[in-house]
Structure formats: structure tokens, C-alpha cells
Subunit: 137 residues, 2 copies
DNA sequence: TCTTATTGTTTGGTATTCAAGATGTATTAT
DNA sequence: ATAATACATCTTGAATACCAAACAATAAGA
């Protein structure tokens, strides 16, 4: 790797927690609750194990997070007859509304971040991120 | 913002903790210790306040982190005559070695991440990241 | 039926962080 | 010179986040 590229590219991996802090300040959600909300907003119903996997944490951790979302009335557990071990998590109306707000805030921040780029640059940047496939990291 | 770009760009802000976990597994460092080590490796001597600022945390938090680095013999505090309130933090030999290893690991991971890109793409990607100036987020 | 696998919860412990207060030292104003 | 103020750092108390391992209930297979 060429030395003049290193700094930005290394930095790429670091320090992305500051925007999470702004979520905490701007909403009634903690960071882990906000992460869970992001996943729940994309799924009508999802069980604890899948949710934990998508969040990249253990089911024990997810239990606690969902407990809190339930206590705050953002989500609720629903049991199913097919398998009585399973809980499906669904957003309440309040949860759906919070998801929309959070999502809009996320979009707004992203727009602000790329606002210094031209349309072509945004497209190129996006293609590159897609190629890099960050989900594997 | 055009809808087809949204997913990647939003994802850009999320989920960069997984590589940090691999640091913890691959070394004797916790995440906050590794962050501090990154800063300390770039500075011969740095005081607590500057270190805290560069880490984006309070000095109280930094005290705890440096305590642990000191206990593990990665760094040590040095006092100065000019101002006896101040502690300058410096890496020990063990700390310097750990920094090099950590840094190499960081580079290796970054190289792996951009290995799917052409030279031109890497350059363009790098320029774009510079423009975005992620340090403000 | 008995054993094994799976889903989710609980428990005990560590890490990370902040806010607010305390301590010691330096600087400034009187 | 003394008093007031500012500053660097540390300490304390509390909240959040997380994991590993043990546990409970249910499902599935031999």
C-alpha cells in the first residue's frame, strides 16, 4: 500500500461512535436499543436468535435489550403456537414512529456527510463501498 | 438522495465494531487500550488532557485506561518540572512493540479490505474519504 | 421413551463511559 | 504576598453494554 493513502484508509475503520452519541442525546434510546430498533424496523417479526445474529451479539445480550425496549413500550414479544420456545419481536406503534424518526435522522446525517461530493463522486463512492462489502468486517 | 444509493451509504456509519473485536481476540489489549495505544504510538509524549481529547473521551475515562496500560506495562506516566500537575504518557518498549504489531494488523486488514479495488479506485476512494472529513463525525 | 438439540433467560463478571466532586498546582488580581 | 481563580488530573458513583456459562422449557430424533 502506498504510504500517502494509508492515513485516510486506516482512519476509515476508526471513530464512528460519535454519531451514535448524538442519537442518544436526540432520542429516548440507548445505543443498543437504537441498533435493535434499526433491525426491528426492517422486519415485521423476528425471533430472538435472528435478532441477536443481526446485531452481532449473544442472545443473552439481546434478551436484556428487548426487555428494555419492551419496558419503554417500543416493542413487544409475541409467542407462536408452532414452537413455544420462540418469541417474535414486533414494534409497537410508538416503536414504529421512533424507527421512522431514527431512520430519517440517519438519512439526514448521511446526506450532510456526502454533501461535499458531486453526484458522480457519490455514485463512485457508493460503488466502491459496495465492492468492499463492509458487512464482512 | 437517490434511493439506490441509500443502503450502502447508510451502512457506512454502522457496524464497524467487528474488527475491534478481532483486536481484542488477537492481543492482550481491550478496545479502549488499543485506541489509546494508537494515539500513543503516534506521539513521543502526550499529556492526559490531549490524549483524552484525541480519544474523544473525558480525562476521567483516560485515567482509567492509562492506569491499565501502566499496570500491564505498555505505558508509563512521567512528570515534568515545568508543570507538576501534568503527566506525560510514554510507551514502554513492550508498548512500542505492541503498537507496531497492532499497526501492522491494522494495515493488513485495510489492505485486505481494499484488495478488490483497482489502483485508480483506491485513489478515488481515498480522495473522497478525505473530502468527507470523517473526523468531524 | 430417552436423549440430544435448540431457543431463550438468568447470573456473575468485566469493560467503557460520564458527570460531579476532590486534590494539588499554577496563574492572576488585588 | 495573599487571595481568588483556573487548570490538570484523579476519584467516585452510576448507567450501559457485553460475554460465557448455567439453566429452563420445548422440540426433534433414535
Amino acid at each position: 500500500m502506498r504510504e500517502e493513502l494509508t492515513n485516510e484508509l486506516l482512519f476509515f475503520f476508526n471513530g464512528f461512535s460519535s454519531w451514535e452519541n448524538s442519537i442518544v442525546r436526540a432520542s429516548d434510546l440507548t445505543i443498543s436499543e437504537a441498533h435493535a430498533l434499526e433491525v426491528l424496523g426492517e422486519h415485521e417479526k423476528i425471533n430472538m436468535k435472528s435478532l441477536a445474529q443481526k446485531l452481532g451479539v449473544t442472545t443473552g445480550t439481546t434478551t436484556v435489550t428487548v426487555d428494555r425496549l419492551e419496558k419503554k413500550n417500543f416493542a413487544k414479544r409475541e409467542s407462536i403456537q408452532e414452537d413455544r420456545r420462540v418469541n417474535l419481536i414486533v414494534l409497537t406503534e410508538k416503536g414504529k414512529k421512533a424507527f421512522e424518526e431514527h431512520h430519517n435522522y440517519h438519512i439526514q446525517l448521511t446526506e450532510q456527510m456526502v454533501s461535499v461530493l458531486s453526484e458522480d463522486e457519490i455514485k463512485q463512492f457508493n460503488d466502491t463501498l459496495k465492492k468492499i462489502n463492509m458487512e464482512t468486517f
